[in-house]
């Protein structure tokens, strides 16, 4: 008797818990992989394609699906790789040289004497940071430019160059304090 009672109880409990889990699975379903968003948040959003994927999100998806390594993003730099390694519990590895090297942040600048207004760079810009129209002078909105360099290749007259963003007093960072080494008597 007690055997059947126990069995019945266990079955009832199993059904109940199963039902709760089932409802929860529907009710709290996660539509998008939250990992992709987390990875995407670390990526610098230059949308430059240096990783070999057409944008940061596809690269994030590829990392989440273990289809890409974490060291393919030069604009994210060493710091980015470290953050990705920390997030994914992977081992840090230096940037893959095949994808390019880490460079100081730069902005695209259009030489207005040469631009012919072909709109090719406008089409290439992933963040709509170039304004202009056919046969009209184009220019780069500096505050929106991510420095992805995608506009350089399509330009038929090579009038776009990358200019390093220097430091200004307003964005200047205090340096890491330098600890003086003890002088050793010669």
């Amino acid at each position: 008797m007690s055997f059947w009672l126990a069995l019945g109880l266990m079955i009832a409990l199993a059904l109940l818990l199963g039902a709760i889990l089932g409802v929860a699975a529907i009710r709290f379903k996660v539509d998008e992989d939250p990992l992709v968003d987390k990875i995407d948040a670390i990526l610098p959003q230059t949308q430059c394609g240096q990783c070999g994927f057409p944008g940061c999100k596809p690269y994030a998806t590829a990392i989440a699906n273990e289809e890409a390594e974490i060291n393919q993003c030069p604009p994210g730099g060493d710091d980015g790789v470290r953050k990705l390694a920390e997030l994914l519990g992977k081992e840090y590895k230096p940037l893959n040289a095949e994808n390019g090297a880490e460079k100081p942040r730069a902005l695209a600048v259009i030489d207005e004497n040469i631009c012919i207004g072909c709109t090719l760079c406008i089409q290439a810009c992933p963040v709509d940071a170039i304004v202009g129209a056919a046969k009209q002078l184009h220019t780069v909105i500096a505050s929106e430019c991510t420095g992805c360099e995608l506009c350089i290749a399509p330009c038929p007259v090579d009038c776009i160059e990358m200019r390093d963003v220097g430091e200004e007093a307003a964005t200047w960072k205090w340096r890491y304090p330098v600890i003086q080494l003890r002088k050793v008597a010669a």
């Binding site: 390019g100 890491y176 003890r182």
Partner: protein
């Protein structure tokens, strides 16, 4: 002295005061320098926007740069002179980087601009507090205690304030500018305090002064003729002049992390700021000077009322700087920084310049490891754990430093002062803070870039979809009404044809008109052809006439008759030419089917046509002449631009580009909608190619 209880804040230190050197002498007017360097960024927030141009003459007190947005303050010419440059100059900033400055060469006349007093009382009575605040912003009033926070923001949006605190503590060693101000200008200061009190509708007003300034306390007591303002003497303890520390001392209110004191009913103003508010509202004087303490290794330490923008080298020379100075500190010895150079102009934040002699500022001991003694924690006025902050900042664990309220650190330097291991703790905090700010800024930029990228993708998707929809709609429209349209067309055949003929004629006329003004090569060619034909016809006629004359031997009437016949024939020939031309035009413009129809038309053309043709011929002749004259002139005209080496190169590039673009266009046109779907893949391929190129370039560079 008041019976008000004085509360305590945590920690604090007693560094040597060194105030005697500079507090003994009265404030003197500073030098009138030959050149003033005015940084546009004179407050927290946005730099001011310049309103003057290089070469412009400015008068003392003239607005030369306007506030940009609400968190910003205006800038005025401190003396009369000429704007000689608006460019990046060295500013009083630890980075040593150049920032935008307006440089004024003074003319030595110190000529004031005509000033009109702003009737702030009327504005106040009218309840127009905004007008007063805007006026103060345009007078460039900022917090002169060192933080340069725009004062108009602190006077905003309050119905009533419990306590207004006037900060005269001046706790930092060496600095005595507020002390001298309180001693010498107590009456004006008190008038200013009453204005601020009225603007803020404050219930009580407390002036906090450290007990090492008894003269200032006495002067204020004498100036305050009434019980509305209370002078509270607080014990000398660094940093009692910090806003949060002074609030705690006087009211026992502890301002929590992330809360503004205003929300707790307390507002704090520095004495110098209140003084400038008074000067602005009662004397229409913008902030063009400030009192600055010049001390340290100088012959005449003291306080100088110097014009904003005075080069610091001029100030140090004025104070009689002695040899042996190692560096110059801008601000106090606790919170100031070493100046990168003395060419920078005095800013509104500059309350003190110290020339450091090795005797007073001995080498900081070599930094030793942290022994976690906890001295820093007991000295910290913000009740933080400096050793933890140091540890996490040093190891770049900024998140953890932030968790331990790094941003509540006021960088007072008390922890570094007491550290037995001589660790420059504040340097680490500043480093960590600026790293965190930079990370936040780049995160913001990345978020914006992501948003824009996603929108672009969305837009491209939408455009593709819309195009496909349009195409589908057009195809459907073309397929359906084909049969019915045919029947209708057949029914209206005659009418439509007539209309078409008329349209064709109109077009022909238009084209001719266009040919007269502008031109295309096609019409030119056509005109030439026509002209040739007409000329041929005329020649033929002339030949025939000559033949007739030779036959009939100069008989006048006959000749006339013949002439008439001739004219008739010529006209006929011209008409025929016109018909042919019309037919040709119609054929070109529309379908060949209409070409036959035009043959019916000539009756309508006749004279008008002939006249037009004549006109066209004339025009053509003129054009030709014009072209010839142009060609003759061209070599001269072209010679000048050819001189620039860029042009042929550019032309070459443009030609190449146009060709490339045409090819691209053709390719795109040839593309079907399915092929467009493959664009993404193609873009991917292009990116790959670009990568390969970049890699190759890099290799070649290496």
């Amino acid at each position: 002295m008041s019976a008000r209880p004085i509360y305590k804040f945590n920690g604090g230190v007693h560094p040597p005061e060194h105030k005697r050197e500079s507090s003994g002498t009265p404030i003197v007017a500073g030098p009138l320098p030959a050149q003033l360097v005015l940084p546009l960024r004179q407050s927290i927030g946005n730099a001011a926007k310049p309103l003057v141009a290089v070469g412009e003459r400015v008068l003392k007190g003239q607005l030369i740069a306007a506030a940009d947005g609400s968190v910003s303050a205006a800038l005025h010419a401190p003396t009369s002179g000429t704007v000689t440059a608006i460019e990046g100059r060295l500013v009083a900033h630890p980075s040593g980087l150049a920032e935008a400055c307006i440089v004024i060469a003074s003319d030595g006349r110190d000529e004031w601009e005509a000033r009109t007093r702003f009737d702030w009382r009327a504005a106040y009575d009218a309840g127009n507090g905004r007008a007063i605040r805007d006026y103060l912003r345009d007078m460039g009033v900022v917090g002169l205690g060192g933080a340069v926070f725009p004062s108009h923001l602190k006077l905003a949006g309050r119905d009533a304030l419990d306590t207004l605190i006037i900060n005269g503590a001046e706790c930092e060693p060496y600095i005595t500018c507020d002390d001298r101000l309180m001693r010498e200008r107590a009456a004006d200061l008190v008038a200013g305090i009453r204005i601020v009190r009225q603007l803020l509708n404050a219930r009580e007003v407390l002036i906090g002064i450290e007990d090492n300034k008894p003269e200032a306390v006495a002067a204020l007591h004498a100036a305050i003729d009434g019980a509305d303002i209370e002078v509270v003497v607080v014990p000398t303890l660094y940093p009692s002049g910090g806003a949060k520390q002074l609030i705690k001392l006087l009211t026992n209110i502890e301002v929590p992390s992330g809360v503004r004191s205003t929300d707790l009913g307390v507002q704090c103003f520095n004495v110098a700021t209140v003084y400038t508010i008074y000067r602005a509202l009662e004397h229409a004087e913008p902030v063009i000077s400030r009192i600055v303490t010049l001390t340290g290794n100088v012959a005449r330490p003291g306080n100088v009322e110097a014009l904003i923008g005075t080069p610091l080298s001029d100030l140090m020379a004025f104070a009689g700087e002695q040899t042996g100075t190692r560096e110059h500190i801008y601000g106090g010895p606790m919170m100031g920084f070493a100046l990168p150079g003395l060419n920078a102009g005095l800013s509104k934040a500059g309350n003190c310049v110290i020339a450091t002699a090795p005797a007073d500022f001995p080498d900081k001991g070599r930094e030793m490891p942290c022994i976690r003694c906890g001295e820093c924690a007991s000295a910290c006025p913000a009740e933080l754990q400096p050793m933890d902050l140091y540890w996490f900042s040093r190891s770049r664990e900024f998140g953890r430093a932030q968790e331990r309220n790094l941003f509540d650190c006021i960088e007072c330097g008390a922890c570094a002062y007491v550290c037995p291991s001589s660790i420059q703790l504040v340097d680490y905090y500043r480093f960590a803070k600026s790293e965190i700010w930079a990370a936040e800024a780049s995160k913001k930029a990345a978020d914006k870039a992501r948003e824009r990228h996603e929108f672009k993708q969305f837009r491209e998707e939408r455009e593709k979809r819309e195009k496909a929809e349009r195409l589908a709609a057009r195809q459907a429209a073309a397929a359906k009404p084909a049969t019915t349209a045919d029947a209708a067309a057949a029914a209206d055949d005659a009418e439509t044809k007539a209309a078409k003929i008329k349209a064709a004629m109109a077009r022909a006329a238009e084209r001719k008109a266009a040919g007269e003004t502008g031109d295309t090569q096609a019409t030119d060619a056509m005109d030439a052809e026509k002209r040739a034909k007409i000329a041929a016809a005329m020649e033929k006629a002339a030949a025939r006439k000559a033949h007739l004359e030779s036959l009939q031997g100069g008989e006048a009437p006959v000749a006339e008759a013949v002439d008439e016949a001739k004219a008739e024939k010529i006209r006929a020939a011209m008409e025929a030419a016109a018909q042919r031309k019309a037919a040709r035009d119609a054929a070109k413009a529309d379908t060949p089917a209409q070409a036959g129809e035009t043959d019916v038309a000539p009756a309508a053309m006749d004279d008008a046509k002939a006249a037009k043709i004549r006109a066209a011929m004339e025009a053509a002749a003129q054009r030709k002449a014009h072209r010839e004259s142009l060609q003759a002139a061209a070599p001269v005209a072209e010679a000048a631009p050819a001189a620039s080496a860029l042009d042929p190169e550019k032309a070459e590039r443009i030609r190449a580009a146009m060709q490339k673009r045409d090819e691209e266009k053709a390719r795109l046109a040839a593309m079907s909608s399915e092929e467009r779907a493959a664009l993404d893949a193609e873009r991917q391929a292009r990116i790959d190619a670009a990568r390969v190129r970049a890699a190759a370039k890099k290799e070649s560079e290496q």
